[in-house]
Symmetry: C2
Subunit: 236 residues, 2 copies
């Protein structure tokens, strides 16, 4: 009955329902009109995403999907000679994979706005402080420059398909002290960083006609229930 919005991505998507997360904020925002479906896979790059896309997006029901956020690249951009090398995907393949993902989604979810999100910037010092990383070499496994190159390709894929795109790499770097205000460990988002993603997603969807104003609530809102005859609202 209720249309869906899928969030397809890596850990930055998977953890988007934690406190102040952008996924939870979207679910809260559209609480009466759209189901926000969490499909975040920690550590995944576009190569692995392509392997699972067919399972993530079921063959049936695709017509009820209003929007899909595609948010990969942070892992693809891991440097090929550092700690996270096994997650690295070369830039040309990243571009090709992203093409294939968008192309697949356009077929599988023909009515959906496909919204691409670039990887966020990387704060290399922040990465070295990540307690879960075993950076024995004392060198970050990701660099901001590499992330930027993947962000650029992401934008070019979006443009090729006429899809909206959030240039998160640039957007976040425009904010004061973004290394600490927007990033928790040099890569993952703080509540403030998540707020940027939430606001950008809401804005981009609105530009494509999807907003609280245009998406109907599926059942009567309290404001539409007549206190003198409440059941009237439920007679349809």
């Amino acid at each position: 009955m209720r249309p869906k919005m899928y969030l397809f991505g890596d850990s930055i998507t998977e953890e988007s329902f934690s406190n102040g997360g952008w996924g939870a904020s979207l679910a809260s925002c559209f609480s009466r009109s759209v189901d926000v479906v969490l499909r975040g896979y920690s550590g995944y790059n576009t190569r692995w995403a392509l392997k699972v896309a067919d399972k993530v997006f079921p063959a049936e029901g695709g017509a009820t999907v209003l929007a899909v956020t595609v948010f990969f690249g942070a892992n693809d951009a891991s440097l090929p000679d550092r700690y996270s090398a096994f997650q690295h995907v070369p830039l040309p393949e990243y571009k090709q994979n992203l093409h294939a993902i968008v192309s697949f989604l356009k077929q599988r979810c023909p009515n959906a706005v496909i919204l691409l999100i670039t990887p966020p910037p990387v704060d290399e010092e922040g990465r070295l402080r990540d307690p879960y990383m075993d950076n024995a070499m004392g060198l970050p496994e990701r660099t901001n420059e590499a992330a930027g190159a993947y962000a650029k390709e992401c934008i070019s894929v979006a443009q090729a398909y006429g899809c909206p795109v959030i240039d998160l790499w640039t957007k976040i770097q425009q904010l004061p002290d973004w290394q600490n205000s927007c990033l928790r460990d040099g890569l993952h988002l703080t509540e403030s960083g998540s707020r940027v993603v939430f606001e950008e997603v809401v804005m981009k969807l609105k530009e494509r006609g999807l907003s609280l104003e245009t998406l109907p609530a599926d059942l009567p809102l309290l404001a539409d229930i007549d206190p003198n005859d409440p059941l009237k609202a439920f007679h349809n």
Copy 2:
């Protein structure tokens, strides 16, 4: 592909994906194994919930529902001679409606754990401070005593069906300064109050065999991906 958990209730459910909300916490907790589906309807009582249940829970797909939280009573317990009288449902009808809802869910979602949650306690002073309430009479439209009576009936319905139940009315009143620590406006939950609901839901589901340990992730977890041969994990 992924099983579902429905959250069916009133505003305390509808707003459960706001910052630190119990719904978002559940979605975050089960981010790789269960879809948490938000079906909260602000202002609704059990009478209205019954009118919409058939639309809220589609006839198809009920078998994939693992759990449903049923969280009504806060509006039913509105006093019949005060500001929110139009939301009031007499206690015997509340009980009857709750019976009908559980009975319906047992048919519609035959594999689901139906988890009842009593209304929270009411802080009457807090209600009078609610800026959205037009308590011209200077009297709260809900009392804690009334909420307690509805909580008691909720527990008895759960017992009649052998369903788990969270006695939130009692649970919250055991906490220090619950009026302010757990309630925002004498009725709706703060982050701490929401934390209580989240932890109780997780515990009750675990008692029925539904937990992170028993619910499989639908796709390979990063820890299960061999860095020396990542694609192996995706060959099944």
